[in-house]
């Protein structure tokens, strides 16, 4: 490329040759350009020459494509005409660059919002899992006796084993999975990893095998032979330095030596961000159990079997189990789901439907705006079109031209909208904390991909037809004689004004529900995060531990660990109180028990009432500042040897002892000793699904020490400042015990509401976008209407109308439109509020104040936007106005 033979940019040259091929001078054009390029490169610089060349080619391409030459050979007339119309449209769009840019940007925002939601839906719903032939992977869930409840339930070991035996041949490699938290010790600081215990068919079911070593063997499903694990790529690299020799060695996991047999490929973290897997084995005593349901089940459809085959056979199997084991399976059934639906929760889909609806609203508003812009231009061109119609141009052609223009706008807007959606998805993806993200399958795979582009293009075409057709039809319907007769203002008939006003009304009516929905979600989030919690989370640090059974086999050892840890933490100078519980409010865990109340008729276990279950240390109520309403809280004196006691929440007392008398009553869980209720506590908000009135049972930790313990430490100052001291204190009790999820309680509360904050954030963004578009739209239309009436206003002023009269006249018009729009929007807003209330699990509460206040606010905003045009109307000089004739 250095001496003599400098070549122009190859791609541009090829394009040029292709495009000028039809010219008799094709060779020379390329040659001349080459020659000039050479000269320029020698005289100035190669870079400059190359750019010059590209610009020249671009100009020639545009010329040959649009200005065109009459080519003798053409396939058909249609293409010709379309090309000509496209050329025409390009010119007419370029003539009004401001308007074109405004329309394209508006459309890009509307399309971008939609594309972003498609992206989210694609990642979370359509292809959340990245596995081979993922459409053949199914999950199987039980359904509850309550027929109306379609909630998916986990499965008991015995039912699973029966399914696996009987479904073989229809669903292969049926696999049960059980959550398995693992404490890893050795090599490094003790660490807690998230794992799953899985049946031996797991890797075959998901279709992904370890890249190093092997998966599990069938015989490893028995106790004693199950001490093997497979590591995720991430864990292997992080903790074992990507050492391939680790396969075959043993590591200390949950207090026992387990042999690493395999390493999974990068990116594999099914299910739920799992980092290691171990065989799921059943005790001979556990295998026949049908009453405890704790397994998730996946499998792969057998070659040649369809999803329907599996569903049918599953129904038969479930019916048999219900018949043969009525105690545990009566009225129960089981259903097969494709994996993408089976693992997700229903809440996600409802939220996505809401977002999609909101995004469509934004797009509709954008379309209304563009239609209005095009209408305004259409009326400017009304006279030109009337002349053309009079000279024999067909109406079809005029409509087509207008449509071609809209499609061209869409062509410009699509790349812009993809940029908008990329921005949107990037912000959403990166604002999700990593520890939450791993539970949302597919979150990390959100991106602008081919299906998203295709959908956007499709939507753009539909949208452009929607906003293009309205003005097009309006234009062509013009009566020719009217347009020619009128005073050059271009046949602005009453019909067109009606359409324009209708569009404004529609915009306002669409914005209001969006605004209300956004305000409701934002308010719910703020209430949940900063509002009443029932206890005082300020200045509290929380952290978790999970005691492995191998080293803490009995209640005594766990009780001792809790007591020692609390003593050491409590002794730290910067700590005012320390307490421990199985589950702390606002943590991402939960625990429930079926209770039995003394003296009430006994019912089958699963029919008993379910309440939230907390075992707490004696400082719990005082430490969290959770009030005791009557009786007493848990005390240091409550020991295994003393009377077993319980404290219940007010809501629980009200639910089960509506007439009072809770204190002194006795209840029990799981056929354990009876507990006597000694106190009633206030309510707490545990999470936003349950809200504030979740019946809760508290009992002394000493009388039932759990394996999972959460510590809450109230600091005298900043809770983050004591993290190291607390870690050290626990390490002094047991150096091999990892602690995890260390964070201020405030942070935990924020994390718990992350889903809702996303809802609020996205809705807020959409609503803001919609509001801006609608206000701009109204402003444009009001300006236009005023401009159209300049002459009339001039006459009025000449006849003695005052500034106030004219302002009122113009504002009155805006007020009427606003009133109608707000009226319709209000109905929609209340309806949408209801949908949100139902869809968002009761955390969003509708009232009438919010829609009313929002409606007023919107009315004021829209009126303000038409104030400027109204003022302009009032400032009309009658002499000038009348002279415009």
């Amino acid at each position: 490329m250095t001496r003599g033979s400098i070549a122009p940019p190859a791609r541009a040259e090829r394009l040029l040759e292709r495009i000028v091929a039809s010219s008799p001078y094709a060779e020379d054009i390329a040659g001349d350009l080459h020659e000039s390029f050479n000269a320029l490169a020698q005289r100035r610089s190669l870079t400059l020459a190359r750019w010059w060349y590209r610009v020249q080619v671009f100009a020639l391409v545009v010329r040959f494509m649009f200005r065109g030459r009459t080519r003798p050979r053409r396939k058909g007339q249609v293409m010709d005409r379309l090309l000509m119309e496209a050329r025409f449209a390009v010119r007419s769009l370029l003539k009004r660059p401001g308007l074109t840019a405004a329309a394209a940007m508006t459309l890009a925002l509307g399309l971008g919002a939609n594309a972003a939601v498609f992206g989210i839906i694609g990642a979370l719903v359509l292809h959340p899992y990245n596995m081979p032939a993922v459409e053949r992977i199914v999950t199987v869930s039980e359904t509850t006796p309550n027929k109306s409840d379609t909630r998916r339930e986990t499965v008991s070991p015995a039912n699973f084993l029966d399914w696996r035996r009987d479904l073989a041949g229809t669903v292969d490699h049926l696999t049960a999975m059980e959550w398995w938290d693992v404490n890893l010790v050795g090599r490094d600081e003790p660490e807690r990893a998230l794992g799953f215990r899985v049946s031996s068919g797991f890797f075959a079911a998901v279709g992904i095998e370890p890249v190093l070593g092997r998966g599990f063997r069938a015989e490893e499903e028995s106790r004693g032979r199950d001490m093997v694990i497979v590591l995720s790529d991430g864990l292997w690299k992080r903790r074992f330095g990507a050492d391939p020799a680790i396969v075959g060695k043993s590591v200390l996991a949950n207090g026992a030596q387990r042999t690493v047999v395999g390493i999974m490929p990068p990116g594999f973290d099914f299910p739920q961000g799992s980092e290691l897997w171990s065989p799921l084995s059943f005790d001979p005593s556990a295998a026949p159990i049908r009453s405890d349901r704790y397994l998730s089940v996946v499998g792969r459809l057998h070659e040649g079997k369809s999803f329907e085959d599996a569903s049918a056979q599953m129904a038969v199997e479930a019916a048999r189990l219900a018949r043969d084991f009525p105690t545990d399976n009566k009225d129960r059934s089981a259903r097969v789901y494709p994996i993408s639906r089976g693992m997700g929760d229903d809440g996600t889909e409802r939220v996505l439907v809401l977002w999609q609806a909101a995004a469509l609203f934004v797009l509709l508003i954008a379309c209304a705006n563009i239609a209005n812009l095009l209408l305004a231009r259409g009326s400017e061109r009304g006279r030109e079109i009337a002349v053309r119609l009079a000279l024999g141009s067909s109406r079809g052609r005029v409509v087509r031209e207008s449509l071609v223009e809209s499609v061209l706008l869409a062509v410009v807007a699509v790349p812009l909208s993809l940029g908008v959606s990329w921005l949107f998805l990037t912000v959403i993806r990166s604002s999700m904390p990593a520890r939450v993200m791993r539970f949302v399958a597919g979150w990390n795979s959100m991106r602008v991909d081919a299906p998203l582009v295709a959908t956007t293009v499709g939507l753009a075409v539909v949208a452009s037809v929607v906003f293009g057709l309205l003005p097009a039809l309006q234009i062509s319907r013009n009566s020719v004689s009217d347009a020619l007769k009128s005073d050059g203002r271009g046949g602005a008939g009453p019909g067109r004004h009606r359409l324009r006003r209708a569009l404004v009304v529609a915009e306002i009516a669409l914005v209001l529900p969006l605004l209300v929905a956004a305000i409701l979600s934002v308010r719910s989030v703020t209430t949940l995060v900063t509002g009443w919690q029932g206890y005082d989370p300020e200045g509290v640090l929380m952290l978790k531990t999970a005691l492995p059974e191998a080293r803490y086999p009995d209640a005594d050892s766990r009780r001792r660990f809790a007591a020692d840890a609390l003593e050491r933490i409590g002794a730290l100078p910067a700590v005012s109180t320390a307490l421990v519980a199985n589950v702390l409010p606002s943590s991402d865990a939960g625990s429930g028990r079926y209770i039995e109340i003394e003296g009430r008729p006994t019912v089958e276990r699963l029919q008993r009432p379910l309440v939230s279950y907390r075992t707490v240390s004696d400082e719990y109520f005082s430490g969290l500042r959770l009030p005791i309403v009557s009786g007493r809280g848990v005390s240091r004196a409550d020991q295994p040897s003393t009377l077993h006691v319980a404290v219940v929440s007010e809501s629980m007392a009200k639910k089960f002892w509506p007439d009072g008398g809770a204190i002194g009553a006795r209840l029990r869980v799981n056929d354990q000793p009876w507990m006597t209720i000694v106190g009633i506590s206030g309510e707490v908000i545990h999470d936003w699904f349950e809200g504030r009135n979740a019946p809760t049972l508290y009992r002394p930790l000493a009388q039932a020490p759990p394996t999972d313990m959460m510590f809450a430490v109230r600091a005298k100052g900043d809770p983050t400042a004591i993290v190291q001291d607390v870690r050290r204190a626990i390490a002094q009790v047991d150096a091999a015990q990892p602690i995890f999820d260390v964070m201020p309680m405030r942070q935990a509360i924020r994390d718990r509401t992350i889903g809702l904050r996303f809802v609020a954030g996205v809705m807020g963004t959409f609503a803001a976008l919609a509001l801006v578009l609608a206000v701009l739209g109204l402003y444009a239309v009001m300006s236009y209407l005023v401009a159209q009436r300049v002459r009339e206003i001039g006459v009025r002023i000449a006849l003695g109308a005052t500034t106030t009269d004219v302002t009122r006249l113009a504002l009155g018009q805006a007020a009427r439109l606003t009133a109608i729009g707000v009226g319709i929007g209000f109905v929609l807003a209340v309806a949408l509020g209801r949908v949100m209330e139902a869809g968002l699990l009761g955390i969003v509460s509708t009232d009438f104040v919010t829609p009313v206040a929002t409606a007023l606010l919107l009315a004021v905003t829209t009126l303000a936007s038409s104030y400027l045009p109204a003022r302009r109307a009032a400032a009309v000089d009658p002499m000038v106005a009348l002279r415009t004739e």
């Binding site: 122009p8 010219s23 054009i29 040659g31 100009a59 030459r69």
Partner: protein, 111 residues
């Protein structure tokens, strides 16, 4: 007879004159260059080819290819020459213009 029917636009007149002036060196690049420097007309490259092609179709220009040249990526130059038809058309244009100018000296000032 036929040549009388050929009407030349202003750009076409300029192009024919430039081709005549350039003589043996009349190919598109110097034609465009001269158009800019001598006549002060800057036209798009594409428009230049369109105009040259139209003149050839009208029979005012004839073109022939030269030798392939390395600085043109191995392509040949197309040299234009003015045909007798072109010359007649030019003379005709000149005659018409001069006729129209005649007698307007007092209004336009002496050229």
């Amino acid at each position: 007879m036929k040549s009388e029917d050929v009407y030349l636009g202003e750009l076409e007149q300029l192009l024919l004159l430039i081709v005549l002036r350039l003589g043996d060196d009349a190919y598109a690049n110097p034609i465009g260059e001269d158009l800019r420097t001598s006549a002060g007309r800057r036209i798009a490259r594409g428009a230049l080819y369109t105009a040259l092609e139209r003149l050839e179709v009208k029979g005012c220009l004839r073109s022939m290819l030269g030798e392939p040249l390395p600085e043109r990526g191995g392509r040949a130059r197309r040299y234009f020459t003015v045909t007798p038809t072109g010359l007649r058309a030019l003379r005709n244009s000149r005659r018409v213009l001069l006729g129209l100018w005649d007698g307007l000296e007092s209004k336009l000032g002496t050229p």
